[in-house]
């Protein structure tokens, strides 16, 4: 006669936490600093392109100007995000307690 082993009854599986980050991902701060690093990279690329054009290493005016425009637009976007965040902070600081 085969023995049937009955395992102990386990408690309920832990429910997924509802607080904290919904899924393991990057925090807002990490995303922000990554974006700022990207803006920095574009600024560096624009500087290198301008330098290469001035020294004569590159003769492509159009590509240089495109690099500069990219840097400019991404910097403007970063400034807009920064302005929004600062406004939100000031809004909180003005809160009546």
């Amino acid at each position: 006669m085969a023995e049937i082993t009955i395992g102990p009854i386990e408690g309920p599986a832990p429910l997924p936490r509802t607080t904290g980050p919904a899924r393991p991902g990057k925090s807002f701060g990490e995303t922000l600093s990554e974006s700022i690093a990207q803006v920095n990279e574009l600024q560096k690329a624009a500087e290198t392109a301008a330098q290469d054009l001035a020294v004569g290493k590159s003769k492509d005016i159009a590509q240089t100007l495109i690099a500069i425009e990219k840097a400019s637009i991404s910097f403007q976007l970063m400034m807009q995000v920064r302005n929004r965040m600062l406004e939100a902070y000031q809004e909180v600081m003005r809160m009546q307690v």
Binding site: D60, A62, Q63, I66, E69, K70, I73, S74, Q76, L77, Q80, N83, R84
Partner: protein, 143 residues
């Protein structure tokens, strides 16, 4: 940002049109050239444009490369048209009958090509400006 890839595509077109302009200038400059290092008269050159290869699906999926496209100069080919023969008996490159082989280049056609290259360049610059204007308009949302 996606608008940047539009700028990259137009930038590749600017480079291609600049190469085309260089080739046209070369054709105009050598319209009367009867001697080349390769031997024989100069031959009209033409650029061959090709669409930039779209990256493989797996690379797109993993985000290594973006699907952006663009244009590139695949090759600068020499025209197979036979040279025109001009009667110039005193010319050092004249043959026994006094004919000189000159490249089959029509300056009028070259000028028309030049206008087309200039207009195409302008169109691509306008596309870049439009992409830039769109990005700046989007930034105005927050203002």
């Amino acid at each position: 940002m996606d608008l940047f890839s539009a700028m990259d595509v137009s930038g590749s077109a600017l480079s291609a049109q600049r190469t085309r302009m260089n080739v046209i200038a070369d054709n105009l400059a050598n319209a009367e050239t009867s001697r080349t290092p390769a031997g024989g008269p100069y031959r009209k050159k033409e650029v061959v444009f090709g669409a930039q290869p779209v990256p493989a699906f797996a690379e797109l999926l993993r985000g290594i490369k973006a699907a952006r496209g663009g244009v590139e100069v695949l090759a600068v080919v020499e025209s197979p048209a036979p040279p025109r023969r001009v009667h110039r008996p005193g010319h050092p490159d004249a043959d026994a009958q006094g004919y000189v082989a000159l490249p089959d280049i029509n300056p009028v056609i070259e000028m028309v090509d030049m206008i087309a290259a200039t207009r195409a360049y302008e169109a691509n610059v306008t596309a870049i400006q439009a992409a830039k204007a769109m990005a700046q308009k989007a930034l105005e949302i927050g203002r």
